[in-house]
Amino acid sequence: MSVWSDLPGQSAVIEQLSRAAAAERPAHAWLFTGPPGSGRSNAAKAFAAALLCEQQDPAERGCGTCHACRTVLAGSNADATLVATENVTFSIQEMRELVGKAQDKPSSGRWRVIIIEDADRMTERTTNVLLKAIEEPPPRTIWMLCTPSPADVLVTIRSRCRPVSLRIPPADDVAALLVRRDGADPELAGFAARVSQSHIGVARRLAADADARHRRDTIVRLPLRLRGVADAVTAAGELVDISNADAAAASEQRNESEREALLIALGAPEKGAMPPAIRSQLKRLEEDQKRRAKRSLSDSLDRVLIDLSTFFRDVLTVQLGTGTELVNEYLRQDLTSYAERSTPEQTLGRMDAIAQARQRLGTNVAPVLAMEAMAVSLL
């Protein structure tokens, strides 16, 4: 058991990071990249734990059992800050606060570590504030930025960071992680790892939640149900509804527990009127939650389209006869007969339409309309 054990399929990265953690003076800025779900922020957290680990022998750092390792992984270590603002973009104010914090000496560990989970969601102005901090680092501060691809951050930032690139883990490794860490049923874990295309977070959810599996199945079978333009428009509405339900399910419980935690932290009275100071804090929390809901809906719409595209990826695999395993192996019969009724060119055109919808949803296009345009292109 060590801090590295929950990083399936990343042996090269583990090797690189454990060597750095054992070094006297590791680099002060790191850029973790890898496709969504490959475990970027988990890798950064593990690295932070190893840097702060209390083992005497540097080679033993990242033991996973000492106080520092455990508190870093649990997110309660004072010297390791994880920023997952979950806002649509980082605000410049938040970045200034963070940079201020970075000037502080570590309270008890060797380093002060700051992890920014979604550095790709920073605006250019915010990035400039961060750039200054990275250019003139306080001696004991280490920054870790996480983004899907190196191109997601400005080249000026990129050039000052040591790169760590995670790969898509093999599905078997992801399944093994789900079984070992979350106690998932082995067969379900294998299915979830394959259909999520090794996205760890999505696979965990699919393995644990029958509703999520059912939603995915509805999405993937959609092309089989399209007979005409009326079906397409109706189906587009359904996809947006599924995304809404998905996003709502994910945030509802979380919003409520955040609210309770805040009330306790502020020492709010159990009944009666809230003092104005508490009310304004609550209002701020609600605004943050609203911003997050917007992002969580767009993430969820994107996920829907990724799931849908696996259908055509499989159709193409069948049409080209490459013989590789299908993502949706359980639908092989339907996929084969669909493949026989269309050409590879058509399949590529449909995949392009899905890619275009993903791109449009990333801008501000009305979700229903973007989905409709995509769905009629599948006819």
Binding site: A230, V240, V368, L369, A370, E372
Partner: protein
């Protein structure tokens, strides 16, 4: 407000089974009464959907109380060959004939198993004997009164958003009621438009953009002309609108809504109820749909999605993008 003296006893007796149209549950007999057609439509729709949710093979039949012939109800209510549950929706009770009155009174005494009867009475005194008998039987009664007060309309808007799990700011709800609150179907259609378009809480600004006096009229005018193939008229209203500073975004939204409705009514099985459209909306969309081939419709929906991106900051010339879309739509309609 104090109730007038003497009314308390009867109010209490009546309220024993009075339920809101939002909460009505299926029962062997349900009475939907009152002049607000739209609420009656929603109440009936709710009962139907709840039943369908439980019994997908539900058989739904319509019964017109004004042209009823004796024995009709018994026949409809008799068990079917395959034992499906049945929903009988009787309408025009305000014009019911004596045969309907007699048969329904008799039916009340012993409703059939697995049969759900919904009676819709639009108001007035005709058939009062039947209405009293239904109320006395303890059957749920949905009272559909017109919403006169703004407070009720505001509450309606809030509930619509709450049911859809969306948020609308209080000032926005107020603005929406003042803009389109004069007609309940319009208010409901506006709510569903905002609910389907909005990604976050609806603000006053959004409402202003969609339904601020000028825009509402113009957006619909442009869209109506375009989808009926009147290109010159569509372009003229569009240019006038743009010249007077109307935002192209809601115009694209209205065009998209119209094409969406046309696409949906193209399905042979389509009906106003399932599509959540008011009957007049449905009829209009059916008429519009005659001008539209499926391929043309698909192409225009694709163009409109691109136009939406253009008017929302992806393009350099949003006004040209809308003009192009309107022209394309107008020339795609078959005249």
């Amino acid at each position: 407000m104090n109730p007038p003296p003497g009314s308390r006893a009867s109010a209490a007796k009546k309220s024993a089974a009075t339920v809101s149209w939002r909460d009505v549950e299926p029962a062997p007999v349900v009475l939907v009464s009152g002049p607000e057609e739209y609420l009656a439509h929603r109440a009936k729709e709710r009962v139907r959907n709840l039943l369908r949710g439980k019994q997908p093979d539900l058989e739904v039949t319509q019964l017109d109380a004004s042209s009823y012939t004796t024995g009709g109800l018994t026949m409809l209510a008799s068990p079917s060959l395959f034992g499906e549950a049945k929903l009988i929706e009787a309408s025009s009770l305000a014009q019911m004939n004596d045969e309907f009155l007699a048969d329904t009174l008799a039916y009340l005494a012993s409703p059939a198993d697995e049969v759900w009867l919904v009676l819709h009475h639009g108001g007035g005194t005709r058939g009062k004997k039947l209405l009293d008998a239904v109320k006395a039987s303890g059957a749920p009664v949905v009272d559909c009164q017109p919403m006169k007060k703004d407070a009720d309309k505001l509450d309606f808007v809030r509930q619509e958003f709450k049911t859809a799990r969306r948020a609308i700011e209080p000032a926005a709800a107020q603005a929406l009621v003042s803009a389109v609150g004069s007609s309940l179907p319009d208010l409901a259609a506006a709510c569903s438009q905002l609910i389907s378009d909005a990604e976050s809480a609806v603000t006053e600004e959004t409402v202003e953009k969609y339904y601020g006096g000028r825009v509402e009229a113009t957006g619909f005018k442009v869209a109506d002309a375009a989808i009926s193939g009147r290109g010159a008229a569509a372009l003229a209203s569009l240019r006038h609108a743009l010249a007077t500073g109307v935002d192209p975004v809601p115009i694209v939204a209205v065009l998209a809504m119209k094409l969406r409705q046309i696409a949906k009514v193209k399905s042979a099985a389509a009906n106003a109820r399932d599509l959540g459209m008011a009957p007049w909306q449905f009829d209009q969309a059916r008429r519009d749909a005659r001008l539209w081939e499926s391929e043309a419709l698909a192409r225009c929906i694709q163009v409109l999605a691109e136009t939406d991106a253009q008017v929302k900051g992806e393009g350099r010339d949003p006004e040209y993008a809308v003009e192009r879309a309107v022209t394309m739509i107008a020339t795609s309609a078959r005249r």
